[in-house]
């Protein structure tokens, strides 16, 4: 028996703080690593439900894939079985695209087939009619409980796991990384992961869990917090039904890995929208914000901010005291960066005397600034040595933890050289080096790729970089305070 929904899980947790992952959460392992998958209700042609099959084929799923259709014996050339019972193999995961009215019959088949995981893409439950939908969702959970399987959804896209060759959409990245993404919105899974891949940031696993009638955010969170392949957790969340369970997971796991959370439905308007999207009960903004503070969860407010944080945590090891130095060619963004350092509660590093001396030797007398922020002047766009030497000097200053560098050359060739120069210096430095690809400066995104590949974060503005860096440093302090309390 693989777990029995919400009730049993709650009982287990009342036993108190657990150091090992609970068996109920271990039961989720086949969710991220199924051996065989049956797709029920795959449509003919290019229709929405087809994305699951296309996703698995594109991702190169190594296990067995079976199509099930009540009447057709083939779908677009692939063999189709009439029912789960007809498949001459055991089935770990079922993905259900069938119409709503057939869902009970399908779940009954799953029960008989002794499957482990059922992903219900089918929608039209609590997000359409809250009262009746919740009843139906309770019934799904009860069936799962009886059958010893777990249900993800309904109204969800299920799992992306490049490690296991799982994807609910075609053209998702095949590369693996160490970020997990838990999202109530399936489309966002696709969008966010693709957006990150452009910056060479990749994922361990992702789960779209929709209305979460059985497996919910808290369980998925516990699983990824215990997963060795995951170092960072991102989440898009509309609502959580069992807030006590969520708090218990946070109590166990807080500070172990950064949790970056985009919590929507924080206003009346958002609350109503969430209700008709995943049937979530949201609201209670202040309660949520208190939870974030107490458990060191990093709150973000849009997809760009979530990316900014994911990139920062991916590339920069947590350390230091948040003392920031800024190097800029253009003087304007340097001033604005200094504002952003202070507004975000970071410290504009006080340069060591030898640093100032060396900067004075390096930079032209006028049109530059040898204090922090360091303005290397317009001349640096023509002679990149000013950028490189200034970066070298600052990375050797013991009063500095992070250097933000904003610049570039006058053409693509020089920009390529600029990128390589920064990578070279990063290789021998233990400081945080953060680059700014200021809009209009380095216009060709391709040129920035080596930075991403070499683990150097690239932000579009210093304001965005510093906001993310400050959030990282706050998490780092939170983590240290937890570790201190634990020891």
């Amino acid at each position: 028996m693989l777990g029995c929904g919400r009730v049993a899980l709650d009982k287990k947790y009342t036993a108190g703080k657990l150091d090992v992952i609970s068996p109920f959460v271990q039961a989720l392992n086949p969710l991220f690593n199924p051996r065989s998958i049956a797709l029920i209700g795959v449509p003919r042609g290019l229709k929405p439900g087809k994305v699951f099959l296309l996703g698995l084929m594109d991702q190169g799923f190594k296990g067995s894939i079976y199509l099930v259709h009540p009447t057709a014996s083939e779908i677009d050339g692939f063999k189709a079985y009439q029912g789960l019972a007809d498949i001459p193999d055991s089935i770990d995961m079922v993905i259900v695209m069938s119409p709503r009215q057939s869902i009970w019959e399908v779940l009954d088949e799953c029960l008989k087939k002794k499957v482990k995981i059922v992903i219900v893409y089918t929608s039209g439950f609590s997000e359409v009619d809250h009262a009746q939908g919740k009843k139906d969702e309770d019934r799904m959970r009860e069936i799962a409980c009886r059958g010893g399987f777990r249900v993800i959804g309904p109204n969800c896209m299920g799992i992306y796991s490049p490690l296991s060759g799982l994807a609910p959409f075609p053209f998702m990245p095949k590369e693996t990384g160490n970020i997990a993404f838990l999202t109530q919105s399936g489309s966002l899974m696709n969008l966010f992961i693709n957006m990150c891949s452009l910056k060479k940031i990749f994922f361990s696993h992702a789960a779209s869990y929709g209305n979460s009638c059985d497996v919910d955010f808290s369980e998925l969170l516990e699983w990824v917090m215990a997963d060795d392949n995951t170092r960072i957790v991102c989440s898009y969340c509309e609502g959580i039904t069992d807030i006590r369970k969520f708090v218990r997971i946070l109590q166990k796991t807080a500070g172990k890995k950064p949790i970056i959370m985009w919590k929507v439905g924080m206003t009346d308007a958002g609350e109503k929208a969430a209700a008709s999207h995943t049937g979530s009960l949201t609201g209670q903004r202040h309660l949520w914000e208190a939870l974030f503070r107490q458990y060191g969860i990093i709150q973000v407010r849009d997809i760009e901010e979530m990316l900014d944080l994911a990139m920062g945590f991916s590339h920069l090891p947590l350390k230091g005291h948040g003392r920031v130095a800024v190097i800029s060619g253009p003087g304007g963004p340097a001033v604005s960066a200094a504002d952003a350092v202070e507004m975000n509660g970071l410290t504009l590093a006080k340069l060591a005397k030898t640093t100032v001396k060396r900067l004075n030797e390096l930079l032209p007398e006028t049109g530059t600034a040898k204090t922090n922020p360091v303005d290397v002047g317009l001349g640096a766009s023509f002679d990149l040595r000013y950028y490189f030497d200034a970066l070298e000097i600052l990375t050797n200053d013991p009063n500095i933890d992070a250097v933000i560098i904003l610049g570039g050359g006058v053409n693509d060739e020089m920009n390529e050289e600029y990128v390589q120069g920064i990578i070279r210096i990063k290789e021998t430095s233990d400081k945080h080096i953060i680059t700014i690809a200021y809009p209009g400066f380095i216009r060709n995104e391709k040129i920035l790729e080596p930075l991403h590949e070499n683990g150097i974060p690239v932000y579009s503005t210093p304001e965005r970089a510093l906001k993310a860096y400050a959030a990282m440093m706050r998490f780092y302090h939170f983590q240290k305070s937890i570790q201190k309390a634990d020891s």
Copy 2:
């Protein structure tokens, strides 16, 4: 006599509210439309000071360009005169790149030559040594006053004006638009204008005025507020010396055109950075924010936000009541957009009954939402008709002022069709239509170009779009309140 710096200007203004532009500001006309330009101190080869000559050549300046060099008779093949006096022509504008120590001699030559405008690129004044620098800058203004010319700078890049073929950098756009950009940072001029050109947003004029020893932000603001080619004003500002003069200009011009202001140096750290960048005295954050509120100035906090506002004001005529409807394929960003509507003080439009009826007829029963935000479901990515018909329905709802649409197809070809469909609907609608090119959805920027060309704003996230739209609506209300008070 063309004007006499700060003192005379102050006297003029104490006369009270002026309805016509003052003659002192009219005297700035040659700044944006010189007939002849002399460049003093152009370096050989590709060095920073060369950008002015390259800029004028690249922009195709129609007037006469003369190079001046104390010893060389040619520079990179161009004829050079030994002094201004040797040029057999009258000179409207002089751009000075000479070393700091030669500045007095050069200004004396300008005085004798009876030039109209002197742009001092040369730096090393109040931004390096505040006390001595201010003395030198006062002396520059006095000489200008005596000579009947105006000085821009020192430590600045001067003027960009595609209407007149002026540019201080090569490769700036040749297209003209209706935005003016006033900036203390010269590099930002180049960066912001290039960044905007990628979105097909163009400029009437721009001025980089650096330490502003003579012509200052207030005068430039008055000039662009009166300029028929300018409809929107953007500004990057570190500090203003004569705040009373600034307030008088605002009293005269407030609400006439939107002023989008990126004011830096708002913190201690930023204040120090600004002092060593343009010698500006900044600070007094609360005073500034009170000014912004009182005179309807739109405050932005980074270059992306400035672009978001410039794009919105460029494309959307001010009207309506801020009642927003959202159409989205992915459900997640739709919920987040609903939050953003409310958080920004806008109204999530209550759909008319017929609208809801028509949406119910259009959209599949499940996996969609027929309330606002309208979730057209995953199916819309496969059949764009859902997007187009929903947009058509919403643009015909009298309860709606603006429709935010977030979507796309499953491949580039469909995305091109999606873009064309939106343009088609916009052509027959008087509503504000705002598109969201969600990261990871339409990845190819080229595909979005027709939207920019057809005056449809494109934002990366609904959060950014709604923040900008809310600021526009606040300005619109401010403008109406001013007009009411005036009538």
